[in-house]
C-alpha cells in the first residue's frame, strides 16, 4: 500500500498516523494543540506551517503533512520537546514524516534533504566528517556557488578547511554499522 497516496486534505488515514507513531516512537494523539512548540520554535516563522499544525495533520493522518516544508527544516533544537506538557518529541515526529515523505517521493525541501544525505555520506566514506567537500556539495545543492567564498577562503588559508580529511583506521567495520539488521528491516518496508 502506498501511504496516503489517495488521501486528501482532512482525510483520515489511520495508517499514515500509525506509521508516523511507529517510526518516531511517539504518540501524536497525545498532542492537544496548546501551541507551546510553535511558540518556542526558532524556525517556525520561516516555514509553511507551524509545528503544532504538523502534529494536527499527523493526527488526521493527512497526506498534506508529507508536503510540508516545516518537517524538513526542523533544526532539532529540542525546544518543543522540552516544553511540551504531553511529552511529545516533535522533532522526532518531523524526522519520521520526512522519512515517510522521502519513501513516497515527496521532498518539499530538497536542500535540507541533501544536507542530511551528504552528511551521512561524508561520515560513511571516512568515518569522520570532511567539512570542505560537504560544504561544496551543499553549494551545488543550493546553486549558490560563490556566496560564501568571502568566509571560506580565509578559513582555508588559516588551515581550518583542510583539503584532505582524516580517515579512521577501522573504516571497514565502521561501515558495517550502516547496514545493521534493523536498518535493513526498515528499508525493506
Amino acid at each position: 500500500m502506498v501511504l496516503g497516496a489517495t488521501a486528501r486534505f482532512k482525510s483520515i488515514d489511520v495508517d499514515l498516523k500509525k506509521e508516523i507513531d511507529r517510526l518516531s516512537g511517539q504518540k501524536v494523539d497525545m498532542c492537544y494543540l496548546c501551541g507551546k512548540c510553535t511558540a518556542g520554535c526558532p524556525v517556525a516563522p520561516y516555514q509553511d506551517i507551524p509545528p503544532h499544525i504538523v502534529l494536527r495533520l499527523a493526527q488526521w493522518g493527512s497526506s498534506k503533512v508529507l508536503e510540508s516544508k516545516m518537517i524538513w527544516n526542523c533544526v532539532a533544537c529540542a525546544t518543543c520537546y522540552t516544553r511540551c506538557p504531553n511529552d511529545v518529541d516533535v522533532a522526532k515526529v518531523c524526522e519520521a514524516i520526512t522519512q515517510i515523505a522521502k519513501r513516497e517521493g515527496i521532498v518539499a525541501d530538497p536542500v535540507a534533504s541533501a544536507l542530511r544525505e551528504k552528511f551521512v555520506e561524508s561520515v560513511k566514506n571516512n568515518g569522520r566528517v570532511h567539512e570542505l567537500p560537504l560544504a561544496m556539495a551543499m553549494k551545488v545543492a543550493t546553486k549558490d556557488y560563490l556566496g560564501d567564498l568571502d568566509v571560506g577562503i580565509p578559513m582555508f588559508f588559516q588551515g581550518k578547511f583542510p583539503l584532505f580529511g582524516h580517515q579512521i583506521k577501522d573504516l571497514n567495520n565502521f561501515q558495517k554499522l550502516f547496514n545493521s539488521k534493523k536498518a535493513k528491516k526498515e528499508g525493506d518496508k
Binding site: 532539532a76 569522520r128 534493523k182
Partner: protein, 294 residues
Amino acid sequence: MQTYAYFPGCSLETSAKEYDTSTRAVFDKLGIGLKEVPDWSCCGSSQAHKVDRDMAAAIAGRNLVLASEIGDIVAPCASCFMSLKEAAVELEHDSEIRDTLKENGLEYLPGSVRVISTVEAAHNALEKGMFEGKITKPLKNLKVASYYGCLLVRPPKIAQFDDVENPMSMDRLMEAAGATPVKWSHKTECCGNAYIMVDKDMTLNLVRNILNAAVSAGADVVAAACPLCHMNLVMRQPYMMQKYGLKSEIPIVYFSQLLGTALNADEQDLDIDGEVMRLINKRRQEANEVKEVG
C-alpha cells in the same frame, strides 16, 4: 589523577582547532587528564538521526565502547555531547542496536560510560574547588554573555545538566575566571546549526537575534561551547550589520579560551584573537584604575 576519555569531534580537528587546543590547555591546568578516544569516529551530529535513528545510535555507540576502556567520556562540542548521550540512552533500551555493535566486535555494557560536556566537567571541577589558587590572570571587568545553545541542556531528560531555561554553570565558570557574567535572554536560543548551508536567510535571522540580545545586555564578548554555534555567530557579522539590522559587531570566543586566559595557559594553545586580547587587557586596566581612584 582523574582522567576522562576525550572525544574531540570532527570540527575540532579543522574549523575549531582553537577549541581543541584551549580545552586541552584548561584541563591540563586543572590537573585533569584527557585521553583521546582511540580511532574515534563521527558522532552523527544533528543529521544522521534524521536519516535513521538506529544507525545514528550505532555509529555514536561505537565511540562509547571505545571510550569505556578509558573512563567517562567528555565532549567539548554540544552536538557530539548530545549525540553520544542520546546513544547511551538508546543502547540501554535497545538490545538490537547493541547486537549490531557486538557483531562488529564492539560490546557495549549498558551504564559503562557516562557522557558529559566539557562545560559540565569544568563546572564539576569548580565545585570541587579545583580552581582555587589557579586563577592568576583574572578577566577583571570583562562582561561575558555565556551562550549555551541548544544541546548542552536540551532535551533535559537526556542532557541532565543545569537549568534548561536559564543555565548558570558557564556563568559561574566565567565568574570564577574573574569576569562579569551578564544576564541576557538568548542563552539557549538556537543558532540554526548546519541549516546555515540550507537556508542562509533564516539562519542569519536567528543569529542576529542572539547577537543583538548579547549586545543589548552590554556584553563585551560572547562565550560559546560549540564549534557550529561559534562559526554561525562569528561568520557574517559585517554583512548582518548591513542587511539584517545587527546593532554592532561582538567578538565570539570559546569559553575554554577565556578560562585558559585566566588560568594563564599557554597563549599559543589558547589562540585568542589579538583584538579580543586587547579588549581583555583594556578591561583589566580599567578595573585597576577604578581601584586606584577608589
